[in-house]
Subunit: 247 residues, 2 copies
Amino acid sequence: MPTLSPAARLYSQARRNLLPRHERLVAVAGRWQHEYLAHLGIRPEVTLRCGEVAHDAALDISERALARVHPGLSAPALLSVVRLPEWRPAQVLRPDSRLVLVADGIEYAGNLGTLIRTADAAGADGLVLTNATCRLTHPKVFEASRGTVLTLPVLTYDSVARARRDLTAAGFTTYVADPAAAVDYLAVDYGPGKAAIVVGSEGSGVAAEWRTPDLTRVSIPMRGRADSLNVAASASVLLFDARARMR
Amino acid sequence: MPTLSPAARLYSQARRNLLPRHERLVAVAGRWQHEYLAHLGIRPEVTLRCGEVAHDAALDISERALARVHPGLSAPALLSVVRLPEWRPAQVLRPDSRLVLVADGIEYAGNLGTLIRTADAAGADGLVLTNATCRLTHPKVFEASRGTVLTLPVLTYDSVARARRDLTAAGFTTYVADPAAAVDYLAVDYGPGKAAIVVGSEGSGVAAEWRTPDLTRVSIPMRGRADSLNVAASASVLLFDARARMR
């Protein structure tokens, strides 16, 4: 088997999530995906092309190499490795920021991507991740976010205490979604303040470090048989309601 | 290879979606799933058990049979085939019904299940399906709906015209979600009326038959980079907002 070129190997490693996390490299494949990169003016680290695809800076690869770096795809195909921007807290939790989503303990890349897309659509200033067990660079995050992982500012914290300290220092009031909370989300008065809305993992909800008495816990009343909404649906309801009622 | 028992064969066929649609049979596996069936008082058509599981009416199957009917599961395992209830329009679009979700052209079973779970949580009286290309009996619908597919009334229509006729006859005002619509969803006055909210397929939105001038089209303003929300997020925002503002 001939050796893959360094560029093809990089794509393959990015696609399989084998690169060090701090490199922030994402494998991106497909037509709308590349149109979106061009629309944003983003220059990939490398772009690979198999077959006839218009692109001015792509390296050609064989169909055999394509089958190795992205099984299941067939020519014509366009593949890129893109570096996610790195955000500092001061760029996201700014004086004029009003709304951030905090996602705690998210396990599934598809859910993380959907949360990013929803936060983007709601006009949130950013997403704060705590206790995340899935990677921001997973290709499913890019897909489910419809590419907004490239533009919505995301802060990843190793420590909940530190995330809380940064939010407090930036003037945010924190609201923790909890199906067992007594306060109906519609009863929250967001007023002219800054709101951080915390949603929890698919399995066990928000971590104990977020459920302390000094933070307001809010619930979305369940009017049917199920005892909870999925995390992306909860975030949609809370973010859009907050955005609509903030002054 | 020994022949499977009729009960094991039925489970296997239900799991692979090989039974005629009108039989409405769903394969259900797992612990919370069976606790939920018991909680609802639902008697499965058949229940199979592999290994030590407390159950008073399960047929025992071998590990080899388990591997055939549900690859990937291992003992102890509990499997059932459950029949979905059949709903008539008059049971769902009742004089006292206030809110229904209409989902048009849904392709993915996971999305359909999430829509059912969301409609249940929002207290919708039912779900109307038009142009659906995925089956209500797909095991992923049960999973993503957290079992609420067994209790939330669902009407499946072959014809949009017929669905529209039934909704109109039952006194519903229909609102069609359309990212290009000029009317912001927050500007809708639901008042004391009955609302049917139509959301479209993942790919191409709501079918032309729902986009006629006599129906109000509403949009959820996109405040970020993405041009749309996913269908389950849109439905969450619209249903919970409608429920909060209806009189």
